[in-house]
């Protein structure tokens, strides 16, 4: 009985859906996290009788056919790249991007990864790094005993060095855009990698050519909406239950058949 397989595909899909939803909820307070959504598609159809088949020599055709579906599959779990709300932290090295773009981070293996999480720190050499200690591009070093770190909307980092009155510009944070941000590959630690689907990274400057602007002293919160996630969770759980009922029904029908003498 194919209904068993069809319902099983439904249960598997809802199981994955719950996984995606639970990851969203778990990351509700993760800086720069973008919520994911499970997208479903129906499986191939068996066309038992094709619509449009001639039913008589006079050219009468079937107005409707018999199409039996094979169930459901998850086609992808794209990220919804919408702006998360910015929360004020007051920390000078906390920056958020308001608009499109990612901060570029140099990984220990020499490759680059990208993040929306701007909770940067300073390491022992005075370099601006991510919480894991990876250098934020283009490698800005803040001199010792300088004061008043300021990051403007274009990402220019400037400090006041003792003995001078005008701030010194140390560098400008790179903000990278991708054509298809949903195609980036998440690798954990709030980092993303470039993929063939995301398109090549386009390094840019904040506030120029469609790149978002930078806000100092703020962090971008996750764009997870608790109410949406919980209602999705309920829907997924009920759908799972209903599919399991189909399995029970199919099982009972098979049992009935087996018991006929």
């Amino acid at each position: 009985m194919r209904a068993l397989d069809i319902a099983a595909s439904g249960m598997a899909a809802q199981d994955l859906n719950v996984q995606v939803i639970s990851n969203n909820i778990a990351n509700m307070n993760t800086t720069g996290y973008k919520r994911q959504r499970a997208e479903f598609q129906d499986l191939l159809y068996e066309h038992v009788s094709r619509v449009g088949t001639q039913t008589s020599a006079q050219g009468n055709i079937l107005p409707v056919g018999i199409d039996l579906g094979g169930g459901v599959k998850i086609v992808g779990t794209p990220r919804l790249i919408t702006q998360g709300s910015l929360s004020q932290t007051g920390n000078t090295l906390d920056v958020a991007i308001n608009g499109d773009g990612f901060f570029k981070v140099l990984m220990p293996d020499g490759s680059f990864s990208y993040t929306r999480d701007g909770s940067f720190k300073m390491d022992a050499q005075g370099r601006v790094v991510t919480p894991e200690g990876n250098v934020v591009q283009p490698g800005i070093t803040i001199p010792q005993n300088s004061t008043g770190i300021s990051i403007n909307a274009q990402g220019q980092v400037s400090v006041t060095v003792p003995g001078t009155t005008t701030p010194t510009v140390l560098g400008q944070l790179t903000v990278t855009r991708f054509l298809n941000e949903a195609g980036l590959q998440p690798v954990g630690d709030n980092l993303f990698l470039e993929t063939p689907a995301s398109g090549a990274p386009q390094d840019g400057i904040a506030g120029v050519d469609g790149v978002g602007t930078i806000q100092q002293g703020s962090l971008e919160q996750a764009n997870v909406d608790a109410v949406t996630e919980i209602s999705n969770l309920i829907a997924a759980q009920r759908a799972y239950e209903m599919n399991s009922k189909v399995i029970t029904a199919a099982d009972e029908m098979l049992k009935t058949t087996t018991n006929v003498q």
């Binding site: 009985m1 194919r2 209904a3 068993l4 069809i6 319902a7 595909s9 439904g10 899909a13 959504r37 499970a38 997208e39 479903f40 598609q41 129906d42 499986l43 191939l44 159809y45 066309h47 094709r50 619509v51 449009g52 055709i61 079937l62 107005p63 409707v64 056919g65 018999i66 199409d67 039996l68 579906g69 094979g70 169930g71 459901v72 086609v75 992808g76 794209p78 919804l80 919408t82 608009g99 855009r177 054509l179 298809n180 195609g183 689907a197 995301s198 386009q202 120029v208 050519d209 469609g210 209903m242 599919n243 009922k245 189909v246 029904a249 009972e252 009935t256 058949t257 006929v260 003498q261």
Partner: protein, 284 residues
Amino acid sequence: MAWESRWHNADDGAAERAETAAREGSKTMDNALLVGLSRQVTLSRELEVVANNLANINTTGYKTDSSIFQQFLMPEVSSGGFPPDSRQVSYVLDRATWHDLGPGPILRTGSPLDVAIDGDAFLVVQTAGGQRYTRNGALQISTTGALVTSSGDPVLGVGGPIQFQNTDHDISIGEDGTITVREGASATSDSTRGQLQLAHFDNASQLQKQGANLFLAPPGVPPQPAPLGVRVVQGSIEQSNVSAVSEMARMVEISRTYEQIASILQQENSERTTALDKLSAVPA
């Protein structure tokens, strides 16, 4: 041999009548079994349809399928043993499945590339096998900047595929499907990237499901321009129009009917056994 001749001797006509009756009787019993079986086969197929609906209860743009049954008359049963009215036996045949193309609830997602169609029209998708139609408006941008479905097939605009530039941002899709963006540094004016093509079908029930949320228009079902009043709603998707309650009710009905028929078959079988026992009993 001995009892046979005795029977014949006793009442020739009656024996013949009994023989005919027995033959007709066994035929009707066969028919009852087959009629029941034909219903069971269609019921198990109907359960497949219901299972597929429930499996797709969260599939964006999915449309409910229903089965249509037909009675299939077999005019073959008797040779005079029955009154004319009961000469035909009607079997059950599943004639068709049809798609309930009614709108699904529109869910607000806030994603700029999610569109729902409010009205009787489809998005047009260019697949390797030709143009297909879909109500699933959860769209993406491909590596090359084209507007695509989640399977990566380009979504067609009025003048062909819709292409975005590297520097585009703030995508906005109007009610008529016009896609405008802010391009690069010139953030004060909008540039148009195309208009979503919307196809309408006068007889949409003839569309064939292809899987992957796509419909195929068979020959003789030409796409028409969308009628007035069809709106594209940005930031929303159309959920599956499967009604959980009615599907569950159908499922219960299917499984109970199946049981009922099984018990009819069982009865029929025991009646048959009894009849065989009685008829084969040697008269004393």
